[in-house]
Amino acid sequence: MALNLTLRVWRQARPEATGRFETYEATDISEDSSFLEMLDVVNERLSDDGEEPIAFDHDCREGICGSCGVVINGRPHGPLERTTTCQLHMRHFTSGDTITIEPWRASAFPVLRDLVVDRSTLDGIVQAGGYVTAPTGAARDANSILVPKSASDTAMDAAECIGCGACVAACPNGAAQLFTAAKVSHLNLLPQGQPERWSRVSDMVDRMEDYFGSCTNYTECEAACPKGISVDFIAMMNKDYLKARFKDRRRQGQSG
């Protein structure tokens, strides 16, 4: 069945320009199309009418690259749990609906154009310490490092973060705790991550605080996360952060 929808879309020509909502009629939209395919159709019609298409970030359209992400009726990535915007399909809407579409709103994510924001601050957090120092070629045989399956599975739960920024957009404070905690926990849970465990958590948290608001445990982030990353990782990160701060563990060879 085809849907007829009204869209209220945030349009903003440039970073410094003032934005506004524009209303468009999206008629005859297939239920089986994805949200982004619906926008493609709208864009093609806009372009035919001589109006510039709505800019939005996207790439894989499979829910894994983390490029896409808009606020749909007030919810990052829209109404469906654990679903990125690109994996949201129009069958979850009803003909006659009005859909409000906005970019991520957070002071750390300036709008570049329409629905596109600058999320480079997330990269900045990883650059501060979200890695294991492992020079190419110096590694020992992979199976000489035993990793208990449970540790590996939990690390993977954290590592599934796609870095889309929905957690920040959902947070009333614009905090990036869930994103940072996911990376910290992924690496701090693994034997390979132990040598840099304490410096990693301090450096990443410090960098995060340079850009983002602070966490006051609203847990909106977990609800918005398309990968269902758990707020338990935030607790894990906070614990490590306190430990790292309590004593300067860097001087103690980083262990324990």
């Binding site: 992979a142 590592a159 992924h186």
Partner: protein, 646 residues
Amino acid sequence: MTVETPPQVDLNAQIPEGPLSDKWQNHRFKMKLVAPQNRRRFEVIIVGTGLAGASAAATLGEMGYNVKAFCFQDSPRRAHSIAAQGGINAAKNYKNDGDSVERLFYDTIKGGDYRSREANVYRLAEVSTQIIDQCVAQGVPFAREYGGLLDNRSFGGAQVARTFYARGQTGQQLLLGAYQALAKQIDAGTVQMYPRHEMLELVVKDGRAVGIVTRNLVTGEIDRHSAHAVVLATGGYGNVFYLSTNAKGSNVTAAWRAHRQGALFANPCYTQIHPTCIPVSGDYQSKLTLMSESLRNDGRIWVPKSPDDTRPPDQIPDEERDYYLERRYPAFANLVPRDVASRAAKRMVDDGYGVGELKNGVYLDFGDAISRLGRDVIEARYGNLFEMYEKITGEDPYKVPMRIYPAVHYTMGGLWVDYNLMSNIPGLFVTGEANFSDHGANRLGASALMQGLADGYFVLPATLPNYLADMLGTTPESVDDPAFAAAEEEVRERVNKLLSINGTRSVDWFHRKLGKTLWDYCGMSRTAESLTQAMKEVESLQEQFWSDVRVLGDNESLNQSLEKAGRVADFFELGALMCRDALHREESCGGHFREEHKTPDGEALRDDDNFAYVAAWQFAGAGNEPCLVKEDLNFEHVKPSQRSYK
């Protein structure tokens, strides 16, 4: 107008002497080195930060070179590599099931239908084991067994379990590993990262690659960058077909610009069509989604025996189902290689046996596996894929069989490179899916990630210094050089041209048309007639594009239509070359299937006497026929045989 044809290039693959198994080690010893204190005097440009580019940028940065890295996404973590699901191969033999470097080498050569270079493939198999070590050291959370050791699975028809995986997100985890290593170098200042930048021209001076011209995708600024060497790690060109499993931004522009500057494009017609993707559901379709090949380990593929059967699948009794792969290929059954499985599905659908509303798919059925192993086991193995399938189609694959159909997935062709991964333009290196090097006419599952990381972590960091060593003491070409000015002018002209046409059709309209033409005439099966037709259609569509495309907006801001238009413009030229290549190759091999060349029972028929070569095409000026340059393939180690999976 007569245009001067460029002098014919002489291709030398630079394959080292000596026995196959010693070539790489001997070569490594013979290559020149750059001493640690001298490395910071070299500038290296790396375009693309997917697996192949990020791994190279991180490694070279760490070695001490000054690296500038570019990608068009907003972060290197988003490259198309992130979407790889199934896994990465390595000859670790952790399962003690008889795997070895030799066997991985042999499987890859055979899987590629004897159209790849023995020396390259051997090296790939050889370094595969180091890749796993490297990734584990970085903290890549590969799947493990209860004892803490790494788990492996068999993938894509391999008879050994040599595939390492991280749930259904192997590409994501490998890319994040490389991205994190890259992030460390960015923080250390050895790598300067330029996200949201697109390379639009290669700069060549005195026959050497000396730099690139880029467009800042946010501000529209057009910039010149110079370096001692340029590496393209810009991925594959499957999106020429419009519908493919590639990320929407994947494109050929960087490689194509290099091609126009003289780099040969090898085997453009070798396209891999993946057998298990979700079928098209309507006109709005913007991309196709892959369902990992690993599903074929437990799923059974079938169609109803009667083309008129409209019953829901669960009401079709077993004896009225045609498990056609099991019937035709008893030895490999549902695990036959991709090209074989894809063509078989096409044949069923073409013959009217397709399922689903549009009759454009075949069933992939987990019913038996669920009764045998239980839903929990299937959920543990494929839970996320089943979830994705349900999100897209609205059908629950635990209850109803999946519907699948082949889709364009990977391109084996790419820029020609020698054993050192250098193109025929000195100073221009090409890695990952962007080059043509290791997969011949067909790539085995879980081998692209292996190749990208082999190139980026181990091969390029060894071969690039060999090129740089002679340039010690030189500075990169000045960006004020006329060669840079000319390249920039070229870019500006193109951008202005695209913006000024102001026609009546959108870029996507043209792209869809082009894609459909190529899919119909240069897709899973090809004939001389269809290819000739395709070339005509592509040409006229291209003319129409340049007179009737509508690109609104300006250059000086984020303009996604403009980005797409530039990419589609290059796809036209590539599409024409693909058809030409497919037309000239009068044989069937791997992903290239010519209806005129098949065995009596419909399998691909190679012609080793006449076509055991790499077809490398040289650009001869717009509107001129490209020149074909051949690199003969010599098989000293394996004897080409007809592939049989019966």
